[in-house]
Symmetry: C2
Subunit: 192 residues, 2 copies
DNA sequence: TTGTAATGCTTCGTTCACGAAAGACAAGAT
DNA sequence: ATCTTGTCTTTCGTGAACGAAGCATTACAA
């Protein structure tokens, strides 16, 4: 800061990273504010919301929907359960699955927690013109796709970079991609 | 996902959150891949890079530059120190400050660690047409501003505001915008 | 039936990230 | 000189977030 900026051209890509980090940090700070105002962090609220909306959901399904790993989802569910906001039940037809449902207390909590990302951001966001909302969302999804992409065609990693990784780097899940809103603005020509 | 989308209109704002979460997740996964290929996570590399570039830097300065809290920075520096990648020295003229400098081993490590975000993303990103790079970066910075705005009101360093008359949206640091003639496309009207 | 996958979830160990509070130090006030 | 205040860093406690490995269960093969 202070504009001294040792590198005159910090690679654009780094700029993206930094911007991203700022956004993440902001989200995190929101989350911490959230937990003080009504006792739920953003991920908790997000997970709870999914569960409440669906009535009953398996852990894995939740994980998929909110783009988190099973492990993390389990963590979050643990905390939610400890506060009696969700109830676990093993599914009767497939006893491996653990079904989650929101307790009445949770529904109440959710009702009092309007938008996930807080008035300030969602208010600000809502005030943007429609096209800009779409644009921002699309940009985000595009970036997500760009990043996810690498673990989709993970194979050519060896050939190009060759970071002396002996591991074949097998693709873990084909799952998290898919829907990125086909209406990405990706091939709009430059307005000029 | 899977497009079934239980809620017909899940509030756009939630969509933003989810997309964000996907991006964050991707970044995190990159980081974990990075640590396997050359032993540094993304935050570690980012911090190290700043230090190496500046020669000698105080902890707080690093924290500011990478947009992390002091506590987090200390954490990361601890890990770097444990691996002999940075050396701590108390500043001689102000003994509260702890100066950091990168060891030769770190410089070496950094040299072998090409771009922070990995060939795949930065390669893909670099291949995008100029206008799109700018657009994505601008979108990200816009979102960051939208989110930061609410907790910046304490430190109005720069009152620019303007884009569409909401809050002044003061930037915490003057640095991340502008720079090399990045033509932010923020107020293009909808093409239709 | 008895193995051998495959699936779904949890546990474990690690890193990251924060705020709050404590510790170390500097600079001005009494 | 001592006290107070303010600044810089670290420690502490908490909550993410992940991969890997483990457990329980189902599904399929022999």
């Amino acid at each position: 800061m202070i504009d001294g900026d040792p590198q005159p051209r910090p690679d654009r890509c780094d700029e993206v990273l930094i911007a991203l980090r700022r956004v993440m940090r902001a989200v995190d700070l929101h989350s911490r504010a959230l937990v003080r105002s009504h006792g739920l962090t953003a991920p908790q609220a997000l997970v709870l919301k999914e569960i409440a909306a669906a009535g009953e959901l398996a852990v894995g399904t939740v994980a998929q929907r909110v783009s988190l790993s099973h492990a993390t989802t389990t963590d979050i569910v643990n905390r939610l359960e400890k506060r009696d906001l969700v109830a676990r039940t093993r599914s009767s037809n497939d006893r491996r699955r653990v079904m989650l449902r929101a307790t009445p207390a949770a529904v109440e909590s959710l009702r009092r927690a309007p938008p996930l990302l807080q008035e300030s951001f969602s208010g600000r966001f809502a005030q943007l013109p429609e096209w800009e909302q779409s644009m921002l969302l699309a940009a985000l999804q595009r970036i997500a796709a760009l990043m996810d992409a690498e673990r989709i065609d993970a194979a050519p990693l060896l050939a190009a970079g060759s970071v002396d990784g002996a591991e074949p780097a097998p693709e873990p899940e084909p799952e998290p991609v898919a829907d990125n809103g086909a209406d990405l603005v990706a091939d709009e020509p430059p307005p000029a």
